[in-house]
Structure formats: C-alpha cells, structure tokens
Symmetry: C2
C-alpha cells in the first residue's frame, strides 16, 4: 500500500500541541517561519512517498544479504541512499561549520517520522549516523572532527553504535571489548559486538563505528568504559581512504522484522587489532554514549509513531473499501463498508488517537531539546533540558508500545487478509516490534523515568510538567464547546491520577526503590495518557478557536473528535493504572511464590 | 525451547475453578474419577512433549509445501499424525457408536491446550476434524454417518470447514458457491473458497470437506445457505476409496505464522462439478455450521491459552538464567538474574495471571458444554447450554487477545534475543496472532456477546453469571487470609463495574444498538476480567483451604499469588473499561469527522 505523508497533521501537532506556535512568537523557531517548515515537510513527503516507500516491501522480502564478510543492501537501497544524501536530507540538524543546516530538532523529528513510516529499515541507517554526529560534536577532538564530521553530516559516510555484547545488553557495565593504548596515541581494539545495525553494508564509502570498550586499567562496571571511533577504512590526513581496518562483520541476524536493516555481529581485532581513536576521555565513554542514546531514544519513539500512522492509513483505506454485513439502519442492497461498523470504528479511532497522542509527546520532547539549546536565558535552557530528559523515556516507551498495538489493530481490521504477508499489515506488525527493544528496552526507559527523571531538581521538573497538563485540561472547561463531550472531566481525572501516582513514586523512590520499580510500567503509561491526552486537548482548543474564527478546514472537527476519543476511552484507563502503581506493590512482592526468584 | 505440559496447573483449574469438583460430587463427571483425568493428561503431556513439540520449529521454518495441486506436510508431520491416531487421541469425545470414547469436552479441552502449546500448526488439523464430527453427529443422515463418521472419529480421515469466499468473510450471507441438485439425490458444487485450513495435505487417506453453498432457488443472505459434505475421494458403499472428486487446492497462502498449517484456496467443480452430500436440510446450513463453529470457537480460545502458557514458560526459563545488572540489595559480585528485576517480575506475573484467567474461562465454558449434555434435569441442561453460549465469545476473544499479549511479553523479556527468530519467541508471537482472527474475528465475538448472548432468557443468563462472580468475590471476604491482599475489594469493584456495564448494554441493545456495539470491545474485556478474576479467586480459596488442611504443595501459595496479582493489577482496570462502555459512546458517534464513514 502506498504511504501518504500526513503533512498537515504533523504541522498542526508541531504548532498547536508541541510549542512551535510559542517558538514563532519568542523567536526560538525564527528559522522555521515563513512557511519554511511546511515547505520542507512537503519535500520530505515527496521523497518518502516516491523513493523510500516503494522499496519497503522488497526490502522485507529480499532483505540485506551476507556473503564472505560483505553485506549487500536490499534491492534499490544503495541508489535510494545516494539520492538521500544528494537531497541534503542527512544534514538537517548537522552543525553548519561542517556543512549541516543547523535546523531545529523539532523539524528533523517530523522528517524522521516520515522516513520511518515510508521505510523503517532504510531510515535506521541515517538515524545511527545522526547519533554519531551528535556524539562527535559534543565530545570529539577538533582533529577527529576535521577528518570525519563533514562526511558524516553529508551522509557520504555512515555511523554505527557498537554497544551490545552477548553478556552485556541492558547492563553495559558488563562489556569486555578491550582497547590497548598505542604509542601514537591511537588504540587497538579487540572483541566482538552483537546487534550492530548497519554494521556493514555497501551503501556508503566508509562506515564509522562508535565502539564502547575498556582500556587495560579501567575500573570495573560502567565507570570503566571508553568510547572509540573505529573506521571501516582508515583515513589519511588528506581525507583519502586508506587501508581496511581490522573490523569485520561475520554474520547477520535472522530477525522477525526490519529485514532490510542488516543486524551485524562485528569482530574487532582478529588480525592484529582494530585501530581506534578515543572520543572524549578514557573511562568517560558512557556519558558520550548517552549523548547518542538520548537522541536515538526519542527517534525510536518516533518510529513507533511512524509505523502507527502508516498502519492507520492502511487500515482506514481497507475499511472504507471492504464491505461486509449491514450496519443498523442501512437498508441498501449492498453490504456496508466495514468502516461503518461500530467495532471497526473503535479500532480505527483507537489507532488514530494513540498515534496522535504519541506524536504530540515526541514532538514536545523535540521542542524541549531545541529549547535546551536555543533559549537565550540559561535557566530556561536548563529547565528545557530537564523537560527533555523527563519526557524522553515516555516518548520512547509509550510510542514504541502504541506502534505495536496499532500495527496489531491494522491486522485485526483486515481480518483474514491481515494474516497474509502480501497484504502488508504483517510487515508493519513485525517491523514495529523492535522499537520497544532497542536503544534501551522499554523496561530500561521505565527505570530511567522513575529512578532518574522524577528526581530531577528534587521533583520540580515533574511537578512543572503535571502543572502544565492540569492547565491544558483546565482550559477545556472554559470553552463550552459541545463537541468536546466529557473531555475535560476525563483528562482532569487522568492528571489527578498521575499527580497522586507521582507522589507515591517520589516517596517510594527514597526508601523503597523496589516498590517504585514494581509500578514503573503502569506509571509510564499513566504519564503518557495524561501528557498525550492534554496535548491533544491543547490541539482541540486551537482547532475550536480556528473554527470559531471562520476557518472551515474539515480537519479541525477531526482533531477535536480524536482528542475527545482519547480522553473518553483511552485516558479513561488512568484510574486503573494509578491503582496498579499504588496498590499493586504487594502482589509484585508476593511473586516469589510463582517465579521462584 | 522444550515444552513442559503443565498438568498440575490444568488439573487444579479443572477441579477448583471450572467445576470438576462439583461434577465429581453430582456425578456429571463420574467417568473422570479415580485419577482417570490426571492419567489421561499425563499421557497427553508425554505425547505433546516427545512427538509434537520437537516438530514445532521445523514446521515454522519449512512449512507446508505446494506443488502441482498437492500439499506436502511439514517434515515429520505425517508420521506424527499417524502416531496421533494410533494413540487414540483423535477419539476422546467422539461418539462411542462410531468408535469414540465419549469422554467429556472438559477433558478434551485440557488436552487441546496441550496439543496447541506443543505445536499449534499441527493441532489445527484434528481440531477441524473434531468440528466436522460434531456437525455430522448432530445433523447428518445415518447413511452418511455410516460411511464417514467412524473414520473421522479415528482420524484416519480428516475434516475441513469451507466457509470463506473473497467477498464473504465475516458475512457468510454473501457467499456464492453453487450446489446443483442431481437426480440421485447428490449435488454438484461449483465455486471457490479461501483460507481453508488443511484443505489439502498428505497426512491422511481422505479429506472430508464441509462446504457452505447455495442451492439454485435459495433465499438471499444467510437463510439460503446449505451445508454439504464433499470428500476428496469418493467412497464406495463398502467404504473403499473411489474416484478423485472435483475439488482441488490451487495455492497456499504465505502467512505471518502457523506456516506448517496449509491454508488453501480450494476450487470446486472446475472439471464438471464436485459431488456433494447434503448435511441436514437445504437452506439450514448455517445452523449446522454453527454447531461446528461454537466448538471451534472455544478451541481457538484454548489456542490463545496454549501459546500464552508456552510463552510464559519460555520467558521464565530465560529470566532465571539471564543475568543483567544488580537489583537493589544484591551485593554479590555476579549480576542478578533478570527474574529478580521488578519490571521483569511484572511482565512475568502478567503473563502468568492472564494465562491462568483465560484458562479458567475456557475450562468453565467446556464444563458448561458438558453439563448441557450430561445434566439429568432438562432445565439444568438448558441453563448450562445458555451459560456455554454466553461464555463462548468471551473464552474465544479474550483468550486470543491475551495469547497475543503474552507472546509479545515473551519477546520483551528476551530483549534483543526475542527479536531473533532462532530464539523461538518470534514464532509464538507470529503463530498466536491468528487466534483473534479465525473462527469469527474477535469483533464478531463481541457482537455475538452483546447482541445475542446478553439477551438470553431476557438477561437471566448473564445475571446468573454475574451473581456467580459476586459470590466468588464475596467468599474471599470470609477467609481472613493475609496473603489475599486486596483481592476481595478489587474483584468486588470489577464485578460491580461489570454489573453496571451489563445494565447499560441490556438497555442500549433495546433501542440504541449502535451504542451497545460501540462499547462491545471494552465490555467483553471487562466481562473477562470479572469472570477470570473471580474464577482465580475460587482457586485461591481452594488453595488456602488445602494449605490449612496441611497440604504442603508448594504450588498452592503460587496459585494465591497469581490470583492476587490478577485482581490487584489487571482487574484494577475494570473501572476504566466500564467508563469506556458507558461514557465512550459519544466519541464513537463523533468519529465520522475523523473516518469519513
């Protein structure tokens, strides 16, 4: 099925839900004004629809192929990648001194949704390059930047993140790859890494690996990890490619989905050592890697939104066309389109509303990242940085989860056809499943939220966020709009539930951290319901105001109906989630009888 | 991963949650006494573990193969099927006058869980034969029974259900396959059918198709459908196989999962007409087919339980072995097994509790079917039949849904390894996805529950069921058992929520059927939470009594902890579901703005 980039939906969410409207006013987003954001998204949409989307199915069927140490990208991917870099799409947020456009993360986040929806497996390659660019920009020496950064920004070379080892997945402190200091200031790396996305391929002239390893006298655990740059081909001072470095792909994983994204096992140093260059300081690698990870985490959340959007479009198109049975009141001879059946309506509206809520959360996270860099006032930058930190695990985990749920509903709307691979719903379902796993499993995001992020500034960051949600829900009460239904009381209840659950979490985190962690899963979901629901409410209010002002855009009532559906049906589950957080602790403690742990 | 048939869990659920204890007392299950049930399940467990489970992975990888009209079963399947019939496993519930054992559906349901968990794709073949046996038993002429029934009961021949056509999926009234009367009383069938499970294969000597078709002068819609028996090979009066009938498989579907179960497109009558024999009366085929469907629907629910059980075992084994990080308070050098991390505990307990609740619902549905046939008193039989009718859509849809959810959690517990096909979690995830679709999509089950089943005996059937749940929840209050936690208030709230939602549904069904259907999805889930939670509570009370009586079985505290987890965490969502049913109607009505329907 063809993909239609939902430009107006994304723009509306950027402007009215995520804060672009404010950024136009206060100048933080001056470079997105005069229609620049829309024009960019429209071009992105064309590229995604015309170049990336047509390769999605063949990428799934053929996949990337491994033979004798080489990886051939899926059919058409290398040429599409060439067009991608030629179009400048790799350079949106890159630093201008290295050829980038220096544009806001908010704009790029919107673009990443579009690439990921069109072709998730393709989009992973530039996503990892982007993470590499950010780590280099923040932590690398100027000499390294001079050699590598411009080519990563343009996309001529691609980047990878080499973290995981068999015994070190969620726990990076357990990793064993060694880096031995050489007399010339470089290092020789020895070890192997698994699950390396685009660790090897034939789409770019060089591949720049960012590798976590230990120097010989490093402390144990995460305080003894260093970050190294290890190029596939060594690079001369003149920028010319030199000898092949001692880093090799030895196999690809056979995965449930994203078949066109090669997931490599990489071996370093089997022939004398892989030459590596230290990024930042020895033993400070984890901090550098977190720079890469935070951006990547938001973008994985965006992948969930992207697959959800595509699955929704796919399901809606089928539901409008497919006819079965007769809905009540339909006296015509022909069967009714299934989009008229209430159960199908509920599925489609759940898909739409979940997608919209997750999109709003991702975009407001991106806005916070921009503000953490672009606000004039340093305390405003600091607050924005805290907000980005707080929202990132929610954006990642919730969006990844709804990506799975919405992709599953696409199968369900299709009935028997949904289970047949040719229909395409199955691919979305298989592809979507990775997002809850990589860049820190959703379980890691929940721990991050509860153990690290709730305590930011002694709880002030989360309290500011809850206050913002309460204000958004409260604003509904003044509108008297009939089509808002019970949006206001439902969202007010959800925010209250989050507020109480947050108090429980902050208290438990001090003395009974296990009790806090026992409720981390429902807590994150509750947070997302309240944050997503109130963000959509803000959009609904804007749509209402625009309608009152005479704007006859038929999408405006749809935005109100979507926000209302979310509030009355999905956010309605907030009370149950709160109870899981606050009353489910005892039953988690009692689980030893079942699990024997 | 190897599968371990959970005999003691299943037996406990049969006895203490589904009503086998009562059946021992009142004689309905006299034939299961003296350890017969346990002995049978133990033998079934051995067969499943030793013969069926080892073929599960190869069946997924190799699948069934189509070439020139023939279908070759996956490697090892034909020999396993031979052992299956030789072991008598096909004949458990078959009528004794045709070689069956005439044993209770309850016992067979437990066995079906075991077969389905060991090898879902294999188990589908006998499941369809079973449905065919039931349709023949109830509706076929004696002469047909004499020729076909004994061989279906033994499994020497297998059965299929031919319902779906491209334009007629959920809406069978739209089907077009024709059946022309012949002078000898037989019919010639012409048409094609899709999605025919085991429509062609090489595991049995003959395949007996049960086919829905229209006679020439049939009324439109579902009142003009007749059921025909169409054998692959015609059968002489002496029982010997004769000429090949004009029914052929022309292709297999390429599916997301259950690769070893051939899903066939069947063509009837391309070479002069397929000879068919009428089952029951002309134009009464749908009633006959519903006999097949109801039994099949329960069994599809059981498949959800089965995959969930296997996924739970798989995840628990990994979580005990895999070590990452250190849980709070663990000062040892080695990393902690992830089964000790609270977030993983929550996932595993959710898997365990969902599985147990769905199993209880399926087994109590089976018990009701037995009682509808075995009770001495006709009014008791009638009440039991209504109960079976009421519970069947819940058993099917809820169990299928939790099969998906639990299989997805298995992937999540495995982290990155879960996304790799070799781990096996991905197969469970792919296989499980079909259960919510076939034998009536879950949407059809929800409509069935709300439109047909709630109204049974003017609402008396559902009121009896809610009263039974309330009694089970109330009984907890008298126990004073400390390890019951907040089970009683949580379940009482859930039953109250169901009661109110039921009143809303019964009222809406009379005048605003669209409003009832708009809430059918959350209503069915709410029903399952209350029914499943209170069934587990009944088990917890029994475990408590057994412990007090000196039984030191270590599984008893586990049953209490599982019931408690379900009540405090899962049933805690009941209030939100009730609100979706009763307050979400307006937002579903308002959806036209979004969906344009």
């Amino acid at each position: 099925m063809s993909y239609h980039a939902p430009i107006t939906d994304i723009l509306f969410a950027m402007i009215h839900e995520a804060g672009l409207d404010l950024g136009f006013k206060d100048g933080v987003y001056a470079d997105l004004g005069d229609g620049f954001a829309e024009a960019t998204l429209r071009e992105a949409g064309k590229f995604a629809e015309n170049v990336l989307s047509p390769l999605n199915r063949v990428g799934d069927k053929e996949g990337a192929k491994f033979a004798q140490g080489r990886v051939a990208a899926a059919p058409g991917f290398a040429e599409a990648y060439r067009q991608w870099t030629a179009g400048g799409w790799n350079a949106i947020t890159g630093p201008s001194e290295y050829g980038g456009m220096g544009l806001p993360v908010l704009l790029n986040t919107a673009c990443i949704e579009i690439w990921s929806a069109a072709n998730l497996a393709f989009s992973l390659c530039p996503l990892l390059t982007l993470a590499a660019i950010e780590a280099m920009q923040s932590h690398a020496r100027e000499a390294l930047k001079a050699v590598y950064l411009a080519k990563l920004v343009s996309g001529e070379w691609t980047g990878t993140m080499n973290l995981t080892e068999p015994q070190a997945g969620s726990d990076l402190g357990a990793l064993k790859t060694r880096a031995e200091r050489q007399q010339d200031g470089t290092y020789k790396l020895f070890g192997s890494k698994i699950f390396i996305t685009y660790g090897e391929h034939d789409m770019a002239g060089n591949i720049i690996h960012f590798v976590l390893a230990r120097v010989p006298d490093a402390p144990k655990g995460t305080r003894g990890i260093s970050l190294f740059l290890v190029p596939k081909f060594l690079v001369g001072a003149d920028g010319a490619l030199g000898a092949r470095n001692d880093v090799h792909c030895i196999s690809l994983e056979h995965k449930l989905g994203i078949h066109a994204s090669p997931t490599c096992t990489m071996v370093f140093g089997d022939h004398g050592g892989a030459t590596g260059f230290l990024i930042g300081e020895e033993n400070k690698g984890l901090a550098c890697m977190f720079t890469m990870m935070n951006s990547a985490r938001l973008n994985v959340g965006v992948q969930g939104v992207a697959i959800a959007e595509r699955a929704f479009q796919h399901a809606l198109a089928y539901a409008r066309e497919r006819r079965q049975g007769h809905v009540s009141g339909d006296m015509s001879e022909a069967m009714s389109p299934i989009v008229q059946h209430p159960g199908v309506v509920r599925m489609l509206m759940t898909m739409k509303a979940m997608t919209a809520a997750a999109r709003a959360i991702c975009l407001m996270t991106a806005d916070s990242i921009d503000r953490s860099r672009r606000e004039r006032d340093s305390s405003a930058r600091e607050r924005a940085a805290e907000r980005a930190s707080l929202l990132t695990p929610v954006a990642k985990a919730f969006s990844a989860d709804i990506g799975n749920e919405v992709a599953s509903l696409d199968i369900q709307v299709h009935g028997g056809m949904g289970y047949i691979e040719e229909t395409g719903a199955a691919q979305f379902f298989r592809d979507a499943r990775i997002a809850a796993i990589y860049e820190g499993t959703n379980g890691i995001q929940e721990i991050d939220l509860v153990q690290r992020k709730l305590g930011l500034s002694g709880g002030a960051a989360v309290h500011r966020e809850v206050a913002d949600m309460r204000a958004a829900a409260g604003a509904l009460g003044n509108s008297n709009a009939e089509n808002f239904g019970e949006m206001e009381p439902c969202l007010a209840e959800a925010v209250d539930a989050l507020d109480r659950a947050t108090a429980f979490m902050l208290d438990a985190s001090k003395t009974r951290v296990e009790d806090a962690l026992a409720g981390a899963t429902p807590y994150l979901r509750l947070f997302a319901y309240a944050r997503g629901g109130t963000a959509l409410a803000r959009g609904a209010l804007a749509a209402h105001r625009l309608s009152l002002a005479g704007n006859s855009d038929s999408a405006l009532p749809a935005r109100i109906a979507t926000a209302r559906f979310f509030a009355e049906n999905i956010a309605a589950g907030a009370g149950g989630l709160e109870r899981e957080v606050t009353r489910g602790v005892g039953s988690v403690r009692a689980s030893a009888a079942v699990l024997g742990q």
